[in-house]
């Protein structure tokens, strides 16, 4: 029983009293049964690899082959932003597999807390698109630290019925438009927002770390702040606010418009003229991973075509396995803002450039200050 979905259903009024009671009784029964079933169930859970990931990736659909092999999903732990995840891991939290993004790789590797992945243990490695793993700081002696899994874009999801572009091209300026004051949402993590503001402010990513760029981006975000209703890392919050009309536009990833369109909400994922922010995320293995073989099985399951089909079809993200795209027609892919040749999209978008830890700290501190009104 997926609690989060149930709560969503309840909020949207899709859950009848009868259904609700059914869920409650199921919960009650499982709680009563837990001590009885406990022994075998908890022994299994302890043996599973732990996967530390973004909220929303903690679902069985992603781990078909892992479940076939080991009977259960991996154990999940979730985070709202990859900086938060790194802080927790550095503080001593040992996981088997974690899920950072390209811009974080050199800093994650520099902590010395991760090991390269043995690609000979991955049956799907041959099909992985090379552009996605030949990233700055990722390869060591032909083995990757991060095995790419999902890629996509950070852009604006807007209500086509509530936002009138007046014939103009889609632009990041939409999120700075005074017309929609108090009706726009932003991602609370600087990893997305800072970089998107840099695109809006016309800052070249290669000069990101300079003082001048830093001030320019901070200025843009400060100017935007009075227009923003909420900053959140919870995509469900943004999606629900867009669905109700509380927000007319919000910074999101690819999956939000797909989810909303599925619910019949008239939204579009903008393709800003300045370019959307493009990212690649993937799996890294902890150097002290307690379940090293199962960690590789987790990654292999993530690379499988079945998982890719789910990731592309249900979430609108790109997958790292080239074969996954063969499951869809070109029209379907274009509608999702993807392409059967991922390099097209990747080269068109703005790719984040890894930065130093000092920059990350300064950026996050400044963005916290801006969000708080300073």
């Amino acid at each position: 029983m997926n609690i989060k979905h149930k709560i969503d259903d309840l909020r949207m009024g899709r859950l009848s009293r009868r259904d609700f009671n059914k869920s409650l009784s199921a919960l009650g029964i499982s709680m009563v049964m837990t001590p009885m079933l406990g022994k075998s169930a908890s022994a299994d859970a302890a043996d599973q690899a732990t996967y530390f990931t973004w909220g929303g990736y903690d679902v069985p659909e992603m781990f078909g082959s892992y479940i076939e092999q080991h009977g259960e999903t991996p154990n999940f732990a979730t985070f709202g932003g990859s900086e938060e995840a790194l802080t927790k891991i550095r503080a001593g939290y040992v996981v088997d597999v974690a899920h950072p993004c390209n811009q974080a790789i050199p800093r994650w590797v520099a902590t010395g807390l991760f090991q390269t992945v043995d690609t000979s243990k991955l049956s799907n490695w041959e099909d992985v698109v090379p552009e996605l793993y030949n990233l700055e700081g990722n390869m060591a002696d032909g083995s990757p630290y991060m095995v790419p899994f999902d890629w996509g874009q950070t852009s604006i999801t807007y209500r086509t019925d509530l936002v009138d572009l007046e014939g103009q091209e889609e632009s990041w300026g939409l999120l700075w438009d005074e017309q929609h004051k108090g009706r726009m949402g932003m991602i609370a993590s600087a990893g997305d927002s800072w970089w998107c503001a840099a695109i809006y402010a016309g800052v070249d990513f290669t000069t990101m770390a300079s003082d001048e760029s830093f001030k320019k981006v901070a200025e843009a975000l400060r100017q935007q702040r009075p227009l923003i209703r909420t900053y959140t890392d919870d995509m469900t919050t943004l999606e629900q606010a867009l669905a109700s009309g509380e927000l007319v536009a919000a910074m999101t990833w690819n999956s939000s418009p797909v989810v909303l369109k599925g619910e019949g909400v008239p939204v579009k994922f903008a393709n800003p003229k300045e370019g959307a922010l493009t990212w690649v995320c993937g799996a890294m293995i902890h150097k002290d991973a307690p379940h090293i073989d199962r960690a590789h099985d987790v990654i292999d399951a993530m690379l499988s075509v079945d998982t890719g089909k789910w990731l592309i079809g249900e979430n609108g993200y790109g997958h790292s396995n080239a074969k996954s795209f063969a499951q869809f027609t070109d029209d379907e892919l274009t509608a999702l803002g993807l392409s059967s040749t991922p390099s097209d999209i990747l080269s068109a978008g703005k790719f984040q450039i890894p930065q130093t830890q000092e920059f990350e700290t300064a950026m996050n501190q400044e963005f916290e200050n801006i969000k708080a009104g300073f």
Binding site: E84, A190, T230, G245, E246, A372, G373
Partner: protein
């Protein structure tokens, strides 16, 4: 050691051991403070390991500085310098104090009549009434916050209700993602902490005092102001402090319902330990917050003492 060795040779081990144990026993039983510490020891150990050591570490950390991934552990006052000089921390702290202060006052004002009613006008099943009133406290904290999100939301219960009554055309936006939302949510969450102490102090009031006041010509209002209210003040004062102190450090509620303008100091502290990755600064802010709270609490207690003297 020497004692037990020599007695072992003499072959009187059990006896002498008993005498040693007996002597220790006597010392133990005679010393009242030793017995006190022994009784306290489980709590003391937990306090030492769970409170004092982490606190000492935090104090130490607040004098360190973060450099990239590493922490420079040489003594420095940089963090305190920036905590005092940057206006943001002061503003966030002031906002937190204002929100918690409002919250404490509103909670007490709302809880007093409820406690009063149960103490004076309910005669059967008082416990049931108390349980029902403190019921919100029995549900998960997170669940309560999400419930308030639904009630206060843009198309939530209040807004859609007012809209269908034709009172408003546009949803009231200040309800959610604002300091108001934080105050409302906290008041509801902490009501139990006001109702219970106020109820207890009201319940203790000797009813004959009220009769005496009535006999001497006081009306209901005067009787309340001159007898009931002063006698229930200990409960009110305790309730205010009980609510004020913990809510200043709350970060879950502002994060979920506060919006950009409802962020509190604890959210900044949490960010320092999380995404900003500057633990020493986080420790400094936490200590500054504690010091300010301690000062406020001490002044508050001193003021209420003066007030009590002035009344009596």
């Amino acid at each position: 050691m020497g004692l037990s060795d020599s007695t072992a040779i003499a072959g009187t081990v059990p006896e002498s051991r008993r005498s040693l144990a007996a002597r220790l026993r006597v010392i133990f039983m005679r010393s009242e403070s030793l017995r006190g510490y022994a009784l306290l020891s489980p709590t003391l150990i937990v306090m030492l390991l769970g409170m004092c050591l982490p606190f000492a570490l935090m104090v130490a950390m607040s004098f360190w500085t973060q450099r990239g991934f590493d922490i420079d552990i040489s003594f420095s006052l940089t963090n305190y310098g920036s905590a005092i000089s940057s206006p943001i921390y002061e503003a966030l702290l002031m906002r937190s104090l204002a929100i918690s202060g409002t919250c404490a006052i509103v909670t007490v004002l709302l809880s007093y009549p409820m406690a009063y009613y149960v103490a004076f006008h309910v005669h059967r099943r008082k416990m049931l009434w108390i349980i029902l009133m403190t019921l919100p406290f029995w549900t998960s904290y997170l669940l309560r916050i999400f419930a308030w999100k639904i009630v206060l939301g843009w198309n939530g219960v209040i807004n859609s209700g007012l809209k269908s009554l034709g009172i408003i055309d546009q949803p009231l936006e200040f309800l959610l993602y604002s300091p108001t939302a934080v105050v409302i949510t906290l008041v509801h969450a902490w009501a139990a902490f006001a109702i219970l102490p106020i109820y207890v102090s009201l319940e203790k009031i000797d009813r004959s005092l009220l009769e005496a006041a009535a006999d001497l010509g006081d009306g209901p209002v005067q009787r309340f102001l001159r007898v009931t209210l002063p006698l229930s003040l200990p409960g009110v004062i305790a309730a205010m402090l009980l609510i004020f102190v913990p809510t200043v450090g709350d970060y879950v509620t502002p994060a979920l319902v506060g919006g950009p303008d409802g962020i509190m100091i604890a959210n900044m502290i949490q960010a320092q330990f999380g995404k900003v990755n500057n633990w020493p600064m986080g420790a400094t802010l936490a200590i500054v917050m504690m010091i300010v709270l301690t000062i406020i609490a001490v002044v508050y207690i001193w003021l209420t003492r003066k007030l009590a003297e002035w009344i009596s």
